[in-house]
Amino acid sequence: MSQSHRLSTGGSIDRETLVEFTFNGRPYKGHPGDTVASALLANGVKIVGRSFKYHRPRGIFAAGAEEPNALLQLEAGARTLPNQQATRVELYDGLSADSVNCWPGPDFDAMSFIGLFHRLTPAGFYYKTFMWPASFWKYYEHFIRHAAGLGKAPTEKDPDYYDKMNAHADVVVVGGGPSGLAATLAAARVGARVILADDQPTLGGWLLNERREIDGKPANEWIATVEAELNQMENVTVLRRTTAFGYYDHNFVGMIEQRRANVSHGGCTSRQRLWRVRAKQVVLATGAIEQPMIFADNDRPGVMLAGAVRTYVNRYGVQPGKRVCVFTNNDDAYRTALDLFDAGISVPAIIDVRSDPSGELATEAIQRDIEILDNHAITAVQGSKGVAAIEVMALNKTGDGVTGTARTISCDVICSSGGWNPAIHLHSHSGGKTVFDEERGIFLPSNTLQNETCVGAAAGIFDLARCLVDGLKAGKVAAGGAGFKKSSRSKPPSAPEEDESPARLLWVVPTTQPLGRRGKHFLDQAHDVTAADIHLAAREGYESVEHTKRYTTLGMAPDQGKTGNISGMAVLGQALGCETLGEVGTTTFRPPFTPVTLGALAGRDIGVLMDPTRMTPMHHWHDQAGCNWEDVGQWKRPWYYPKPNENMQDAVNRECLAVRNAVGILDATTLGKIDIQGPDAAEFLNRVYTNSWQNLKNGRCRYGLMLGEDGMVMDDGVTTRLSENHFFMTTTTGNSASVLEWLEEWSQTEWPEMRVYFTSVTEQYANITIAGPQARALLSEFTEDIDLDPVSFPFMSVREGTVAGVSARIFRVSFTGELTYEINVPASYGMSVWTAMMTAGDKYGITPYGTETMHVLRAEKGYIIVGQETDGTTTPQDLGMDWIVSKKKDFLGRRSFDREDNRRQDRKQLVGLLPDDHTKVIPEGSQITSSQQERPPLGSRIPMIGHVTSSYYSANMGRSFALALVKGGRKKIGEGVYVPLADGVVRAEITSPVFVDPEGAKIDG
């Protein structure tokens, strides 16, 4: 079978070239310029899939983004794409596609037995059953899950990539139809930067689908002229195959561009591009979407939108059927009949629900001897796997019933038209309101929140000549709004006048039986929602549109109800006895207009680019040394440096012993560093730290705690007074950015009179920390201009000088209790100083250590880590750090100490824990109890009195130890507590949190 339904002439396909493709494994041929849908129709393929719920056979219904039925699994393997609309996939050679949600295929589907139970499965049936026995729901659910779900997700990693484009425009025009092209021209001619986005591969919009004339010539010629002019203009960007999917606040428009039609290979580009466009003005020329007639069994393969049939005939040279009837409530569908007739296709009848249609188009049909059955309706469709014939009856006066006898007309396609509704989706996304035009039965855009206007069909203007005028005007106004006020007078192109008579709004086409008893009137074919379902929802009290939508799932499928929502609302209105559809209300359209690939929204921000990785200047040394890494914020920090055959504990033990007994070297570059200058710097620190800073001498360092205004510990670190008005603050690695912002906030918003300035210098300096009894001996080899004697260079002071020939700032602080020098050198010298230290340090037993060893050593001294010993609910007093809290001054957070909660006796306090079993390292995060009990069974409880915050094995002590926060802990020193673990209860004794060198004897080496 080769293109049995291809017309011999017409269409804008490339008839010279044949492309081959497969559908459900069968080979077919088509032409470039086809969509998969047009090619399938050209090959006489009727059934393309099965419906979501009842597994009814379904065919191609539409020709664009509104298609509810023809969803394909495109390609296989790593590049497979589920749920692609056949009407939007451009045909290419070698394309392979399959139907979704049916097995073995759409012609015979094993799941179609479900349709037999349709009487039992109306809207919302699942809310009413599957409840007994309660434990069975999971089995029902398992079946439901596997029965649902359309296409299949890929199982392999994505071989493609996606890009993002950020763009600014004076005017964005969405839609390349007549109004959009006219608007683009008008705005561009006065110099505005215009971005025109259109979802089709070629410009022209609905003109591509029609036989229309502009300026007395076929519309194609006008399109070509406009396109040529736009191509000449540097201020115009035309984006084809680009769907504007969402319209967000402040004129931000999201667009998705298909970069290649053929998705089966990678090509040389990203697969799609996300355009993030900020526009001064937006013109929405998004056109209109045809609504179908809602008649019994209107889902049979062969029932199609009238406009879609016209598109297939005119644009693709395809005859969807051999005998085609038209069923309409308006004049426009007559164009389909005329186009079909003129293409040599038999049109047995136009069934029009109106009486005496008398417009020009009707006259033309009569001239062609096409039979018009006015005031008639289709009451039944014969044929279950495709339209075979229709039954037609006369309507009664009110249109809610039929009279007389049925006449059967054989045909294989029914063109259904309930009129065109403006595509106001983007307008609605942007916060724009809509109004219902009762007479025409359409929703029109009204008030807008943004600098936006709808034109042409999107504004309810369907007359071509008026669309062109409207577009030109809107383009000019938009350009003016964006500041381009130059006047340009161009004569609007002309088009023949159109004279159409009004539609008759029938909403549900009656049959000989009450609704729901003879055939199914589908509103939402994608989700199998019928008019009877809407009536059921209304009957059960789901009266709001939103309730009805949710109860019936109307409009919730991938097509988002583009051909069903409005009829659905109208049916709801009827069911509720509303006078007008406006009374029913409107639903808010939500982005996206058509589905958007997640990968495109993610863009390049995946893999290593998901978040920036921060590396110190010595990173590669650590890497070569074979360290294991710890992620701290965005930083990579060496965690520990295992030697061959060492496990983590071995390595940490070795590193710990080296620091306490010889010398260790740590890369502490990641600590936040903030340079603070200004005459009020000391007073400023006074306000943000708990302790006093006015009296700190030049060259001396002081430890500080920073609190939130709620009195809870926020950050800590050492700050040094380099000179009278110059301080150098260090923060924790994770909080460096937030601390800087905190300081800026207070200085700018609360105390702007203070003269103090902050600069982040975290990345300007490498911090090479050497710690241990041999640290002085090591450092002395590298510096001549600094006296390292502990009397002249005491603990908690700073010296500036030269280290290994590099100017350096050395801080004598300590996070281990050992003699420590934190050597800050310009970042670019970090590696050279580090390697020099390593080389010279060999004889002292220098040992690089990582964050794990740092943590063990500081815990042995009872030093806290913010975020580990604290959790946002911890005060300085809880940590036993009263000594650092000034009683004399106010500071951020101080007032909160006086609150009732802070005076509680049973607040959790920082203590040490020594497990009875010296080898047992209690897991961090373990909960502590006061009596010896196993973990309770589910449903019963044991009171907790605290939790373990840090826990390690100490090679120095030869035993395990921990830090913990325990209720009233400081009064419980010496008492035993219990830690129930999965493998039994561990007993431990509460101790002081300082385990090693409590007198500080080692601090000078």
Binding site: G149, R550, T553
Partner: protein, 420 residues
């Protein structure tokens, strides 16, 4: 015991099928307000409807009106990602959320409305050592509180969620996860509708399209509410309006420690089952499950700026999907089908406020932030007790408004799915 107007079952479904489903009764009736009620509940979301249901069922108070300015369940009840769990850190929260989970476990039967509770487990991922430590602390606290909770190592995470990316070289590798097997999802709309039906059946008046314009008071005591449908009197009024709580409080003359933000979510097109559990990651701000219809339901962190617009910013979604595609590489080819926003009222300590206000007889239930859906039955249950007796139940005694004065905060930032 009130008779069910029309009990739902497979038998009633068959019976009605024979009558072309023309005989079904309303799930609830839309009432016009009477002059006076014992209790008025402002807000017809899940929490408000649950409150009305339990007032009637547990306390026999049926002269109750639920007043909703829009349509039932139209706020956050119908806009969340339907996740249910009780693995909270602090005793106060754990008890409250666990009560809620227990109510959920028999809610379909209690309401005779299938809310499709699906206990397919909730995983919280750890991406660094700090996450792991916090996870361990919370899981241990859960176990001590008698709540099911366990730690999975990376390999077990992979077994549990085969499509997850456990490459140790990824930017934020998965080091482990906590799992609450009794956690899962439920059908959000059904929860609101089921409670509405149950409350209506017990005599509660459900009044939709009725906006409160003033809170009437006399000598510091509430006397009723002025609405777009007229004055309605009551000596007890409960405010359960989530994102709009501050606005209602302003009407009553006091302020709340709340900030309202848009919280966005989205669903993909439906695909055949790929994800049989709920996965959450604090570190990269994303949470995801797959609905019975086959859509991936994906939530993000809250937007950066206060707002009542129900429209969020696209860049928040972009960031969230980067995290999703990284965690689940196969999802990069799925497509976002619908996105939306809700307005969440966040408290400084990420815990709710359920109890008295400065106005006598006026009670408030708010501040659920990003996590209110899972608490719906529990919240209604304790709030009903509070309204009925005038005093909080033991389960909500700690969740007072004056904790912000005393400092007795219940800081659950670690347990909430997203950064506040």
């Amino acid at each position: 015991m009130v008779q069910h107007m029309g009990k739902y079952s497979i038998f009633s479904l068959i019976r009605n099928a024979l009558a072309y489903h023309e005989g079904w009764e309303r799930a609830w009736r839309s009432r016009e307000p009477q002059g006076e009620y014992d209790v008025i509940i402002i807000g017809g979301g899940g929490h408000g409807l649950a409150t009305a249901f339990y007032l009637a069922k547990e306390h026999g108070i049926t002269n109750v009106a639920v007043i909703e300015k829009g349509w039932l369940g139209g706020g956050n009840t119908g806009r969340n990602t339907t996740i249910i769990r009780s693995n909270y850190l602090w005793d106060e929260s754990a008890s409250l959320y666990e009560k809620s989970l227990q109510l959920y476990e028999s809610l379909s039967q209690e309401l005779n409305f299938n809310i499709m509770l699906s206990q397919r487990g909730v995983l919280n991922l750890a991406h660094n050592l700090h996450d792991l430590r916090e996870l361990e602390r919370r899981v241990n606290a859960n176990l001590m509180n008698g709540i099911d909770s366990e730690i999975l190592d990376t390999k077990s995470v992979k077994n549990f969620v085969p499509i997850i990316n456990t490459d140790p070289n990824s930017r934020y590798p998965i080091l482990g996860a906590s799992l609450q097997r009794r956690g899962g999802t439920a059908r959000h709309d059904a929860v609101a509708w089921g409670f509405a039906r149950g409350a209506d059946e017990r005599g509660v008046d459900i009044i939709q399209q009725c906006e409160v314009t003033a809170i009437k008071q006399s000598r510091g005591k509430v006397t009723g509410v002025e609405t777009t449908k007229g004055l309605i009197k009551a000596k007890k009024v409960g405010v359960v309006v989530a994102g709009h709580s501050s606005e209602l409080a302003r009407m009553a003359g006091f302020r709340l420690p709340l900030n309202s933000y848009p919280l966005q979510a989205l669903v993909t097109e439906p695909v055949k089952p790929v994800l049989d559990t709920v996965v959450m990651s604090n570190a990269v701000h994303v949470y995801v499950s797959q609905s019975d219809k086959g859509e991936l339901v994906i939530g993000a962190g809250i937007d950066g700026a206060h707002g009542y617009s129900q429209r969020g910013s696209l860049h928040v979604i972009e960031g969230q999907l980067g995290a999703l595609c990284e965690l689940f590489p196969i999802t990069s080819r799925l497509r976002m089908m619908r996105q939306w926003g809700g307005i969440v009222d966040t408290c400084p300590d990420a815990s709710p406020i359920i109890g008295k206000t400065p106005v006598d007889g006026l009670f408030i239930n708010c501040g659920w932030g990003t996590g209110g859906f899972k608490a719906t039955p529990g919240s209604g249950w304790v709030f009903a007790h509070t309204l009925a007796t005038g005093e909080p139940h033991a389960l909500n005694a700690a969740f007072t408004l004056d904790r912000f004065t005393s400092g007795f905060l219940i800081d659950e930032h670690g347990a909430a799915a997203v950064a506040h």
